[in-house]
């Protein structure tokens, strides 16, 4: 009887398996931030974003670009540095329950990664197609590019690498080596960013009109396929979680 009470107390005291607050705040963080970005685009895209030679373009768009790049570099280094610095050096000796808790935490990261990919690859990428109908392409840094290429892509890259870093430093499952599909799921979408170089070169070199299906864009397509590698990560995770739950589920 006494033992049971103790165990119940211990349960109440320990951290929950899934930190729902982190999950909710994570999702909300992207949602609120990107809603703000969408509002900013709506206002300053029209009032300051149509002519890249206007002084207000420098104020509202180029400054935004400079700020976002600096913040992204700091966030990337800070988050990944923190995850690496605080890595678990005895990761193979954690309890199954702790491992399960970490899998949940890992999935909070992955949920955020999927969410960030949605905003970057779907919402802001197709949005670019319609913005090009309102301007004559007059700079590589058109407002939709400043958001799409230099904000939403780095954000999912940061989320993806952090997710990978979390798994590698805290989960026994990933100590075997480097998980090939996880690498692809992170590096493939990352490569979309350098591919912007090809895009801008091509648009400047050949044509200035907006044909989405132009072969020039196929680099994005190829790297976009890498998002499918999330299936490999899902499978590895399901296998790992199955190991932890199997005897209790039977």
């Amino acid at each position: 009887m006494a033992a049971t009470t103790e165990s119940v107390k211990a349960d109440a005291a320990e951290a929950p398996l899934l930190n729902k607050r982190n999950l909710t705040l994570g999702i909300l963080l992207y949602l609120v931030f990107y809603s703000f970005i969408r509002w900013y685009e709506g206002v300053y895209g029209w009032s300051a974003g149509l002519d890249s030679f206007a002084p207000e373009f420098e104020t509202y768009w180029m400054n935004m670009l400079y700020i976002e790049i600096v913040v992204e570099v700091i966030l990337f280094a800070g988050i990944n540095g923190f995850l690496w610095k605080t890595r678990d050096r005895k990761v193979m000796s954690i309890t199954p329950r702790e491992e399960l808790r970490r899998h949940f935490h890992h999935w909070v990261w992955l949920v955020c990664y999927g969410w960030a990919i949605y905003w970057g690859a779907s919402y802001f990428t197709e949005q670019d197609g319609t913005w090009h109908q309102t301007i004559v392409r007059d700079t590589d840094f058109t407002p939709s590019h400043i958001i799409e290429f230099y904000l939403s892509y780095p954000i999912y890259i940061i989320t993806g690498t952090a997710s990978f870093m979390y798994a590698k430093t805290r989960l026994p499952t990933y100590q075997e080596g480097l998980h090939l599909m996880y690498l692809i799921a992170v590096i493939g979408p990352f490569m979309i960013l350098p591919n912007v170089g090809l895009n801008e070169w091509g648009h400047t070199f050949w044509f200035m009109e907006e044909l989405f299906v132009a072969p020039l864009h196929y680099g994005f397509v190829f790297f976009g396929w890498a998002a499918l590698a999330i299936m490999g990560v899902v499978n590895t995770e399901v296998m790992a979680i199955t190991k932890l739950l199997k005897k209790d589920l039977a």
Binding site: R21, T24, L25, L28, L31, V32, S35, F36, R38, W39, G42, V43, W46, S47, A48, G49, L50, D51, S52, F53, A54, E56, F57, T130, Q133, T134, I135, V136, R137, D138, T139, F207, M208, E209, V234, V238, M239, I241, T242, L245, K246, L249
Partner: protein, 414 residues
């Protein structure tokens, strides 16, 4: 802690709502859009727009205005831009703030692409119907396949009223009058909603039961066949057959509802009617041309011969839509955009009437801030450092002659 958490959650939600709402109601003001980016040599040596007229400066929603004028397809078309064999008379506005109610070249409606000839002048007109209130920069524009958009002069135009009032009535050949702004919208929402509902029902049928871990256990222990029951297969059949039935039935009802449909219309329009300018009797030879960077001025030395029978004077130099005038000869009465008009921008060393048969060498200076503002001065950094433009001469009777010039340009930095 819990209170703080709740507060954070609440505030985030409020912030979300505010931003979402704000996003819907931003003010429609706009800057110009991108015309200055194009290489100066490209703007000077492709399409020369002239005699432009914007019929109104302020238009209420649903009202129309026109942009009309002429354009010369320049003979010395640059090598870096594909020839205008496939071109489209567009309009440079920030999205559908106006709708293009009509556009004509030489009196022929041009909803499709056209083939243009080098060296020819064409008359054009674009009819615009105001849709979205705001101040908009409205440009003439020609898209050239392989060359991109070649943007002409722009003028600020104000649309007043409310976009909610905009209507776009069209009468079809089957006799109905519809509002193209909202036509077919409910039908689109309806069918997409139906198909989303079917898809969600199928997904829900599967995801309402435990998915990944238990199913993985079953598959990896050789019990995969237990995961799909006979009932599941029946439901699957219902979905597949139901899908095909809905597709077939909806296609049938659509065909009976719309018995007359035609394919999209496409194809190049050739043989556009050209505009015949009066034969030029003045000939011009550019002896040299320099651009003085500090003075924002272009100086040309030219030898002009008058082969006609009345005396003439040089009144205007027009390049890339910027007009330099000698007010003693010609004044603009068309309310041409201020930023593109140098009313006293043309200085001629000797602009006394050039008599019939006379040849004279003159110094012509075209100076204005527009060289910088419109980045035409960047010509000196272009990889094909030639300039081009239109010279307009007036004779004693007020008749006008157009002569094109095309020559190398030497920059002067001191």
């Amino acid at each position: 802690m819990k209170i703080i958490k709740d507060k954070v959650a609440k505030l985030s939600f409020v912030a979300l709502l505010i931003t979402m709402t704000a996003a819907m109601f931003y003010a429609p003001t706009a800057s110009a859009h991108g015309e200055k980016s194009q290489a100066a040599f490209m703007r000077m040596r492709t399409i020369h727009w002239f005699d432009l007229n914007w019929s109104k400066e302020e238009v209420p929603v649903n009202d129309t205005m026109t942009i009309s004028g002429k354009f010369l397809v320049f003979k010395g078309w640059p090598e870096t831009v594909d020839k205008p064999e496939v071109s489209f008379l567009n309009i440079g506005i920030p999205g559908p703030v106006f709708i293009r109610a009509g556009s004509w070249i030489g009196g022929q409606l041009v909803p499709r692409s056209v083939s243009l000839e080098l060296g020819e002048v064409y008359e054009f007109k674009v009819l615009l119907k105001a849709r979205r209130p705001g101040d908009w920069h409205v440009h003439s524009m020609m898209n050239v396949q392989g060359g991109g958009p070649i943007i002409g002069p722009g003028k600020w135009t104000t649309i007043t009223g409310s976009m909610g009032d905009f209507v776009n009535p069209v009468t079809t050949l089957t006799g109905q009058t519809i509002d193209l702004e909202t036509y077919n919208l409910e039908n689109t929402y309806f069918w997409h909603a139906v198909w989303f509902a079917v898809a969600f029902a199928w997904l829900l049928f599967w995801i309402k039961r435990p998915m990944f871990v238990p199913r993985h256990i079953a598959v990896s222990t050789g019990k995969a066949s237990t995961l799909i029951s006979a009932g599941d297969k029946k439901i699957g059949m219902v979905f597949a057959v139901g899908t095909m039935v809905i597709v077939a039935a909806s296609m049938g009802t659509t065909n009976s509802k719309y018995p007359v449909t035609t394919p999209l219309q496409a194809g190049l329009l050739r043989g556009m009617k050209t505009y015949q300018m009066p034969e030029a009797t003045v000939s011009v030879k550019i002896d040299d041309a320099t651009y003085r960077v500090p003075g924002r001025a272009m100086q040309m030395t030219m030898t002009v011969t008058n082969n006609g029978d009345t005396s003439v004077r040089l009144g205007e130099f027009n390049t890339a839509g910027v007009r330099f005038l000698d007010p003693e000869v010609h004044e603009d009465e068309t309310a041409y955009p201020d930023d593109l008009l140098a009313e006293e921008g043309l200085t001629v060393s000797d602009n006394s009437p050039l008599a019939p048969g006379e040849t004279r060498t003159i110094e012509v200076t075209a100076s204005d801030a527009a060289w910088e503002v419109y980045r035409l001065a960047d010509l000196i950094y272009d990889p094909d450092s030639r300039f081009a433009g239109l010279l307009f001469f007036w004779d004693e009777n007020g008749s006008r002659q157009l002569v094109t010039v095309d020559a190398p340009l030497i920059p002067s930095f001191i």
